[in-house]
Amino acid sequence: MTGNTEIAQAVRNQAGEGLLKEEVLHDMLTLTVEASKLHEILSFLKDTPSMGYTFLTDLCGVHYPDESLPFAVVYHLHNMRANHRIRIKTYLTAENPAIDTVSDLFSAANWMERETYDFYGITFTGHPNLIRILNVEYLDYFPLRKEYPLEDPTREDKDNRFFGREA
């Protein structure tokens, strides 16, 4: 199956209400799905022979602080046989940004989920080893969240007055 409409139809049949939105962004089919249905949909896309999305290209988080569901996890899947890519997005709450791990389906997801946890604090339920990967383990914030400024907020050696800013 390679057409965008067929894929969307198949996912709709599988997930029902779990498929929230479908759109095509710069030639790539983007499906927004319910977080609780994500694992089911990814496993459907991977393990159904007629779908064949067996390759997880990319997994990353996004933070939209002004939205009611501020955390997004974005999956890029690739059907190499048919050479077709799709993007799956899912949104999580601020209070409990947690989602099922897909590292049982794709070994590649292991570190990518750790990286997403490291940067955004999104918890992947069932992950075998969910610890920080790129940052030091004693870091007490999640640096890619939008509320953290680029400059290290804990630094005390910079006087704002010298940078043209209010003290």
Binding site: L25, H26, M28, T30, T54, F55, L56, T57, D58, C60, V62, H63, V74, H76, M80, N83, R85, R87, F106, S107, A108, N110, W111, M112, E115, F119, N129, I133, L134, N135, V136, P143, L144, L150
Partner: protein
């Protein structure tokens, strides 16, 4: 959990007395080319368990990218895979062009192919000669570095820099290739094949080299796909996936080239696949040079491409564009794009979310090395320590890309 056990055994001797020992390989170790730490649980010389620690040179590129205008992000991409900076630079620039919907002239595409293939040659030369070094043959390494130097001189002629090239502009190039660059390119193409043949003669059918690499650090095609392998490492396992063919960019569809694949996915296959890719890349550079179309070296996109300096001083409109671009006010369209290029070691992807602001809302680098390095413990357990070193160098993991 595994890590905890390993850590404990460092302090308390061994959890099974007399049987296992723990070896800290790295973070700085002469046999690992870059900053990699591996905590190995050893049974004599045999690796029983391994756990990587990464992040030693993490520089928060994704956070930095959220605070920089589009044209200033090119310099960040240099520092990902620094063995093939032009591929990263041009990959990023093509991502932005995809977002803006810019169509570049054929000449730009061909010049880009020349640079990207040169970068691939430089990358593969380093990787393959380092496999030689780690199996005890330093000669090849020193010998092919002369050719890498020629490639770096071409970079220098085109962009002014050697390692962190910051090559190209959104829409094309800042200037056309100079006659000197073309001359150096010709010299390289004259010299490289004979050097490469000698290098191959040194290693490819060398009994010692074959004994050291065949069957070392193998991975099956199925596991490789599950681990997200791309590039030469995946092709060595027997999957003919190459972004240049699957999703052609920069007019790669105009060229005819072969995609070499291996069968065993071991160190020797990875070496051979890279070696064959070198020949294919040389052919691609030759073809691109011979068929280089005439025409402009940049697209006609004044809103993102800096106007010539003399016009900035004499024309109001150019001055306005110049000011806006330099200040980073280029009004990108709102949207999301994913663009992938075939990097030196795999599919290098850029996932860019734009909210129309001066900086990306989110930029994620799909770094091939970060993803496939996960498989390293699986590939080395059961082998001896010296094979583990060889496996790592044959995977072409670059620390800058791994830690972003």
């Amino acid at each position: 959990m595994k890590n905890e056990q390993l850590k404990q055994s460092v302090g308390t001797g061994s959890n099974e007395p007399g049987k296992y020992s723990t070896l800290n390989l790295g973070p700085t170790h002469p046999a690992t080319h870059g900053i990699f730490q591996n905590v190995l649980k050893m049974d004599g010389e045999i690796v029983v368990e391994a756990e990587q620690t990464i992040g030693y040179i993490h520089r928060a590129f994704e956070k930095l990218a959220e605070h920089r205008p589009y044209n200033q992000i090119t310099t960040i991409t240099d520092r990902l895979n620094y063995c093939s900076s032009p591929i990263n630079n041009l990959g990023w620039i093509m991502t932005v062009e995809k977002l803006f919907g810019i169509k570049t002239p054929k000449r730009v595409d061909y010049l880009r192919i020349i640079l990207m293939e040169l970068a691939r040659i430089a990358d593969h030369l380093v990787c393959n000669s380092v496999i030689g070094v780690d199996s005890g043959a330093l000669t090849g390494f020193v010998y092919v570095f002369q050719e890498r130097e020629r490639i770096y001189e071409i970079y220098e002629e085109v962009s002014g820099a050697r390692l962190t090239t910051n090559m190209g502009r959104i829409g094309g190039f800042e200037r056309d290739f100079s006659p000197t660059a073309m001359k150096k390119l010709k010299e390289l193409l004259d010299h490289l094949p004979s050097v490469l043949r000698e290098f191959e003669k040194l290693l490819k059918r060398n009994r010692i080299f074959m004994d050291r690499t065949i069957g070392v650090g193998p991975i099956s095609a199925e596991r490789a796909l599950n681990y997200g392998f791309t590039g030469p490492n995946l092709r060595a396992a027997g999957v003919d996936y190459d972004v240049r063919v699957a999703n052609p960019y920069s007019s790669y569809e105009d060229f005819k080239f072969d995609i070499p694949i291996g069968t065993q996915g071991d160190t020797y296959d990875r070496f051979c696949v890279r070696q064959e890719e070198l020949w294919q890349s040389i052919q691609l550079v030759k073809d691109a040079m011979n068929n280089l179309p005439e025409g402009p070296y940049h697209a006609d996109v004044p809103e993102v491409y800096l106007p010539p300096k003399q016009l900035v001083y004499s024309k109001m409109e150019s001055l306005i564009w110049h000011f806006k671009i330099v200040m980073g006010e280029i009004n990108p369209p709102v949207g999301e794009v994913y663009h992938a290029v075939e990097g030196g070691n795999g599919e290098l992807g850029f996932y860019l979310i734009s909210d129309g602001g001066r900086t990306p809302y989110r930029l994620h680098f799909r770094r091939p090395g970060f993803i496939y390095y996960q498989a390293y413990p699986e590939m080395i357990t059961g082998g001896v320590l010296s094979d583990a070193i060889l496996t790592m160098s044959s995977m072409n993991v670059i620390a800058g890309e791994l830690d972003a």
